[in-house]
Symmetry: C2
DNA sequence: CGGCAGCGATACCGGGCGGGTATCGATCCG
DNA sequence: CGGATCGATACCCGCCCGGTATCGCTGCCG
C-alpha cells in the first residue's frame, strides 16, 4: 500500500465526500474515485459504502482510517527526523501544553542546560491534546504530558510529579473562604462548565461558554462566568483576580515526560535523565 | 515520501550494496540507484556515502533506516488489520515465546473462553524477540512479553505475574543439592554459555554452543554441555533429565500482556481484562 | 603498470498509470 | 417532472517507473 493511496483514503474517510476530499487533496474527483476503487480491490475489501446521498465507512474502513493515520504519522516522522538529522544542528523540540507545569519546565530546562553535553531545546507550546500528535509525527522529540488528561499510549514515559487539583474562582467568591471543597459542591455552583474544542476543531453541544485557551478561560472566570478545576501548579499563572481552593476528590494529575519509544537520541536520553532526577 | 521509496531505501541500507538490494527487491540496479538519488534530493540530505568499494550509512541515513522500518511496519499493520476486519470473522492472534508461561497462557485462554463475548484466539508461538515485530506489523493483536528480556517500548501493557529465576542443570549435578545459588556460582561452573541468534539471524562470536530454541537448549543441558537461567515457570517443561535451583540474585521476570496502543478492539480489551483478573 | 573485475551512475527507450476533462446515471427535492 | 448533487465511467495525455546498454571509477592481481 502506498502512502499516496493512504492519504487519499484518509481524506475521503474524514470528509465522507469525494468532491470535498478531492478539493482538499488538490486533485480532480474522478482520479480520486478510481484510486479508492483500486485500493479497495487491492485490499480485497469494501472500505466505503456509497449510499445514495452520502458516503459512510464500513467496519474495515474505520480500521483503515485509524491505522492509516498512525501509519502516515510514522512516515511523516521518518521524513522529518531524517531531515533534522541531516542538518547536523543538534537540538531538541520539547512540546507541552501552554500554561501547564511552567515552574517544572523552567527547572528542567535550567538543569538540563547545566549538563555537560546539553543541546539547545526549542520549547513548543500547543493546544489541548496536540502534544501526542506532534510527538508521533516527528515535529517534537519529547513532551510533557499530564495524566489522566493526555493519553500516553504508544510512548515511553517517566513520571515526574503528581499534584492535586484546585478549583479556580473569581477573587472574593463565597467558596474561596473554605479550606477545601468537593467536586459536587463546585458542580452545584450556578455556573456553566466551559466547552473546549474537540480534536476536529468543533465544539460539543451545550450551554457553557466556548474557550480556546487558558487566557480566555481565566478571563471568563474573573468575570464570574465560569469555573475550572486545574492542577495546583497553575496557581503560578494567576494574579489577584482569581482565588483557588483545593478540591479533595478531584483526580490528582501526574506530569510525565514522554518520548517516542524507538528514540535513539543521546540528547533525549540526557533530558529524560535530568528530568527524572528533579 | 512513498512507501516504495522507503522500501527501496531500507533494502539498500540493510544490504549496503545496490546490486544485492536490487536483486532482493526484484528490480534492476539502475532504477534503484535513481530512486535513491531522487529520495535524497527530495529529503534534501545525503543518506548514503558511496565510497569506492562499498556503501555506508550517513547519520541521516541511519535515522531514516530506523524510522523507516517503524513506518513500514505501521503501513503493513494498517493493511493487515483492515483485511482482517474485512473478513468479518472475529478472532484474535496472541503471540508468545515458545515454551514460556505455558501454565499462565492456558489459564488465560480458559478464563477468556468462558467470557460472554469471547472470540476465537489463535496462539502463535515465535522465536526470541519476534513478538514485538508481529505486534507492530499487525500479524498479531496481543502478546505475552517477558520483562526485562523483551522490550515493551511502544505498546500498552498490563503486568500479570512476577517470578524468580532458576538455574537449569542436568539431573544429579552437584549444585542441585543446594537450596539456592547465586549467579556468580553459576557463572563459575566450567560450562560455556550458549549463544542465541541475534535479530539478523547470525550468532555472536564466542565459545558456547549455538542454540535456536528451547528444545535444543534443554538437550544440551541434559548432556551437561550448557546451563541456563530461566523463569521458575519453565520448570513445568522439564522432565527427569533436568534439575533446577533458585537463583537468588537473578533479576525477576515479569510477564506482561501487551497490545498496540491505539487498539480499539473489543476483543483485545476483554482479553486484557480477563488477564488482569487472573 | 596494464588489464580486469566489481560496482554505482548515466543514457535512453517503452509502457503503464496517475491525473485531467467530459459525460453519464442515480437519487433527492422542489 | 426538471434540476441539482454526487459518484462512476470513458477517454486522452504526459510523466515516471522499470528495463537494457554502457560508462567511469577504483582496487586488485599478474
Amino acid at each position: 500500500m502506498e502512502t499516496r493511496e493512504l492519504r487519499y483514503f484518509v481524506a475521503v474517510a474524514e470528509e465522507l465526500h469525494f468532491g470535498r476530499a478531492a478539493r482538499r487533496l488538490g486533485i480532480a474527483q474522478p482520479p480520486l474515485s478510481r484510486a479508492i476503487r483500486q485500493l479497495e480491490r487491492r485490499v480485497g475489501a469494501t472500505l466505503l459504502d456509497r449510499n445514495s446521498r452520502g458516503v459512510t465507512l464500513t467496519e474495515a474502513g474505520s480500521v483503515l482510517l485509524r491505522e492509516g493515520l498512525a501509519a502516515l504519522d510514522a512516515v511523516d516522522a521518518a521524513e522529518r527526523r531524517t531531515r533534522r538529522a541531516a542538518t547536523g544542528r543538534p537540538g531538541l523540540v520539547l512540546v507541552t501544553k501552554a500554561g501547564a507545569s511552567a515552574e517544572l519546565l523552567a527547572k528542567l530546562l535550567d538543569a538540563y542546560a547545566a549538563e555537560p553535553d546539553a543541546v539547545s531545546v526549542d520549547v513548543q507550546l500547543c493546544g489541548i491534546g496536540e502534544q501526542a500528535r506532534l510527538l508521533r509525527d516527528g515535529r517534537a522529540d519529547v513532551a510533557l504530558l499530564h495524566r489522566p488528561f493526555d493519553s500516553t499510549a504508544g510512548f515511553d514515559v517517566e513520571e515526574l510529579t503528581t499534584e492535586g487539583q484546585v478549583v479556580v474562582l473569581p477573587a472574593g467568591h463565597p467558596l474561596t473562604t473554605r479550606p477545601h471543597v468537593r467536586t459536587a459542591e463546585v458542580a452545584a455552583l450556578d455556573l456553566p462548565t466551559p466547552r473546549w474544542p474537540q480534536p476536529d476543531g468543533t465544539y460539543p453541544d451545550g450551554a457553557g461558554p466556548r474557550v480556546r485557551d487558558n487566557t480566555q478561560l481565566l478571563q471568563l472566570i474573573a468575570l464570574g462566568r465560569a469555573w475550572a478545576i486545574l492542577p495546583e501548579s497553575s496557581r503560578s499563572l494567576l494574579g489577584t483576580d482569581h482565588a483557588t481552593v483545593p478540591v479533595l476528590d478531584a483526580p490528582s494529575v501526574t506530569t510525565v515526560i514522554a518520548w517516542p519509544p524507538h528514540s535513539r537520541s543521546r540528547a533525549v536520553a540526557d533530558l529524560v535523565r535530568t528530568a527524572a532526577r528533579l
